[in-house]
């Protein structure tokens, strides 16, 4: 399923896991569990030795996964075995893509059921060659917008983005945070684009996920909290969290609809 189709059923819950942690086989099952429990998109991270955009939780998962034998070949094998009803999205660093060859990488994504790519260290200035390869393979290259992205830059980023726009909720790296900043809400408002907007970085509770949806996002992205539960072997906890998150964003969306209807009546 292409991302555009998935986003027709917004709000979306997007769940990130690190491929190969704790093992390639477990990743297939965990991805299926996420889809079953309510994740609308599964973001499958390819572990890198030097993940500069990630906080300690995902860094540690990447190290474990590499130790457990994860590499790009195994990654695509795992992806092709997931066969979930929801879209799979690649998340990983540019050097891993470059090393395989841009066209081959994009083609392998398409062949293994991956419909989009998120590359956190590839700003649009540098993304031209990969974008061309993605267009050819008919997969979406998803761009990121940060809280400190100037408003006048946003259209340039959005113009090159496929699928959806990834709104980075806060400065710094991935990882759970207690509070959702005002700047996140401001960012959701600042981003004017026909593309769906999904917010990630720091979302770890159903309340936070609901909050970004209420603020106008089309999707909420959860990562580190999933990785953390997986590292503790708590798959029941993961399933429960995804269910609660999905319920929370649905409720937030329907509340928004009611509000709109009410204000329309007045």
């Amino acid at each position: 399923m292409r991302l555009a189709e998935a986003f027709s059923r917004r709000p979306l819950l997007i769940a990130y896991i690190c491929a190969g942690d704790p093992s390639p086989g477990a990743t297939v099952e965990i991805a299926q569990l996420l889809a079953r429990s309510g994740a609308d998109v599964v973001e499958l991270g390819l572990p890198h030795s030097d993940p500069i955009a990630d906080g300690p939780v995902i860094q540690a998962a990447a190290m474990r996964a590499i130790e457990a034998g994860m590499n790009t070949d195994v990654y695509f094998d795992v992806a092709s075995k997931i066969r979930a009803e929801v879209p799979l999205v690649f998340m990983g660093y540019y050097n891993m893509i470059l090393r395989r060859g841009l066209e081959k990488f994009a083609g392998d994504c398409a062949d293994s059921g991956i419909t989009g790519l998120i590359v956190p260290d590839l700003p649009p200035e540098e993304a031209g060659p990969l974008r061309t390869a993605c267009e050819k393979a008919e997969v979406d290259l998803i761009s990121l917008v940060a809280p400190n992205t100037p408003t006048e830059r946003i259209p340039y980023i959005a113009e090159g983005s496929g699928g959806f726009l990834y709104l980075v909720a806060r400065a710094g790296v991935t990882g759970a945070r207690a509070d959702l900043q005002e700047s996140t809400k401001a960012l959701i408002e600042r981003v004017k684009t026909p593309l769906p907007k999904a917010v990630g970085f720091g979302i770890s509770t159903p309340e936070q996920a609901a909050e970004v949806i209420r603020a106008g996002a089309d999707g909420a992205i959860v990562g580190s909290v999933c990785v953390d539960l997986i590292s503790k072997g708590d798959l029941a906890g993961l399933e429960d969290l995804i269910r609660r998150m999905k319920a929370a964003i649905r409720e937030a969306k329907s509340a928004e609809k009611v509000e709109k209807m009410e204000s329309a009546r007045i």
Partner: protein, 399 residues
């Protein structure tokens, strides 16, 4: 709106800005501030005064008579080992710290491997009144206790890095992660000509004082340009510093001496060397497209060298470009050659070189023919910091 035209951030096909979106605006602000300040007479005056009166510039160009006799050619040493702090690192940190101050930043962060850049950052932080925090891999902290103490004595905080290989590359990762969340108050003081634009350009320009001086000094001494200039390369800041003075002098061979470590092979996770210009392949590390050491899947390998300052699996993108277009000649000196350089220079000239600089000396001893009749070796640092390493290597135990 594009932050910068990609062609402005590159050296040929190398360089660029391969960083998270969060860092694009801080890099833009830094590039603009630096570009404005470097033309500002007041900034230039301040930097120049600090370089003279605090750091001790100009450094001498010394004709090493005994070494020259031994190699049957004239060997000059550019004495960056005499700079305050004992290495060329201060040239760069003074400039960047002044930029940081002008930008209103109150905190400096830096990465360090051997500790030399960390110490230079701590010195400038103390001198200019900026809070300084230095990321250093746990493995390096263990190897370089003396420099950790020096940084602390200078009022800096040393933050141990426990991620990845716990060495220089991970310290850079950690500094970049910090900066992504702290750029409003903090300047990332990168120590070498690596990383995303504008760092390779800015650090080279701030280090170019070495080459500018050396060119004038050799013309005074010899009335002509040298046949070659040799410098060790880790990230490449001392090499780019001295090379930049001679880039237009096509007849002067610029020799980049990389760490051959304990051999030219690579294991699953660790290469036995740090020779990216010689043995690396195209890749992206720390924000730049350059030559890197990596496995078949693109995972970054740990590098190895007895000299901690050359122990880096990447290299400045401009050097990668200059090698590709044939302007810079890549060369290798292994641990053994460096130790030979370390000992011979001590005995012949009464100068104990840093193990990094000893690679350039070791290369000269090994392959004097490559140097021509007159050569300059950039003696980028002094060797006091390496005594423990060398003693341990000799089986004498550390201090």
């Amino acid at each position: 709106m594009k932050i910068t035209d990609a062609s402005m951030t590159r050296f040929g096909r190398f360089g660029g800005q391969f960083v998270p979106e969060t860092l694009m605006q801080p890099l833009k602000e830094l590039a603009e501030a630096y570009s404005r300040l470097k033309a500002d007479p007041q900034f230039r005056g301040e930097l120049s005064a600090l370089l003279s009166n605090y750091a001790g510039r100009p450094t001498p160009l010394y004709l090493a008579k005994s070494l020259s006799r031994e190699l049957s050619r004239k060997v000059y040493l550019k004495r960056e080992d005499l700079l305050h702090g004992g290495a060329h690192k201060l040239n760069n940190v003074l400039g960047q710290a002044l930029v940081a101050k002008a930008m209103g930043k109150t905190r400096l962060i830096a990465e360090t491997g051997a500790g030399q850049h960390g110490v230079a950052s701590a010195m400038v932080g103390a001198n200019l009144g900026l809070d300084t925090e230095v990321y250093m891999g746990e493995v390096d902290i263990e190897r370089q206790k003396m420099n950790v103490y020096r940084m602390e004595l200078l009022g800096a905080k040393v933050i141990p890095v426990r991620s990845g290989s716990r060495t220089l590359k991970d310290a850079i990762n950690e500094a970049m992660r910090d900066w992504a969340g702290s750029y409003e108050t903090t300047h990332y003081l990168m120590g070498t000509v690596a990383g995303a634009h504008p760092y390779p350009l800015m650090v080279r320009e701030l280090q170019s004082v070495i080459g500018t001086e050396a060119r004038e000094q050799i013309l005074d001494a010899e009335g002509r340009l040298p046949d070659s200039v040799a410098a060790c390369v880790g990230g490449g800041s001392n090499a780019m510093g001295i090379f930049s003075g001679f880039l237009r002098d096509e007849a002067t061979n610029l020799i980049a001496v990389e760490a051959g470590g304990r051999g030219t092979s690579s294991g699953d996770k660790i290469a036995d060397h740090g020779a990216c210009l010689n043995l690396g392949e195209d890749g992206v590390l720390h924000g730049a497209m350059t030559k890197i050491l990596q496995d078949p899947y693109g995972q970054i390998l740990e590098s190895y060298s007895l000299a901690a300052g050359l122990d880096y699996p990447g290299v400045g993108p401009e050097l990668a470009h200059l090698v590709e277009v044939g302007r810079v000649t890549p060369a290798i000196a292994d641990d053994g050659a460096a130790l030979e350089g370390f000992r011979r220079l001590s005995v012949l000239e009464g100068i104990i070189p840093a193990l990094e600089s000893a690679h350039a000396v070791g290369f000269a001893l090994k392959d004097p023919e490559a140097l021509g009749e007159i050569t300059i070796i950039n003696l980028s640092g002094r060797g006091d910091k390496d005594l423990t390493t060398v003693m341990e290597h000799e089986g004498r135990g550390g201090i």
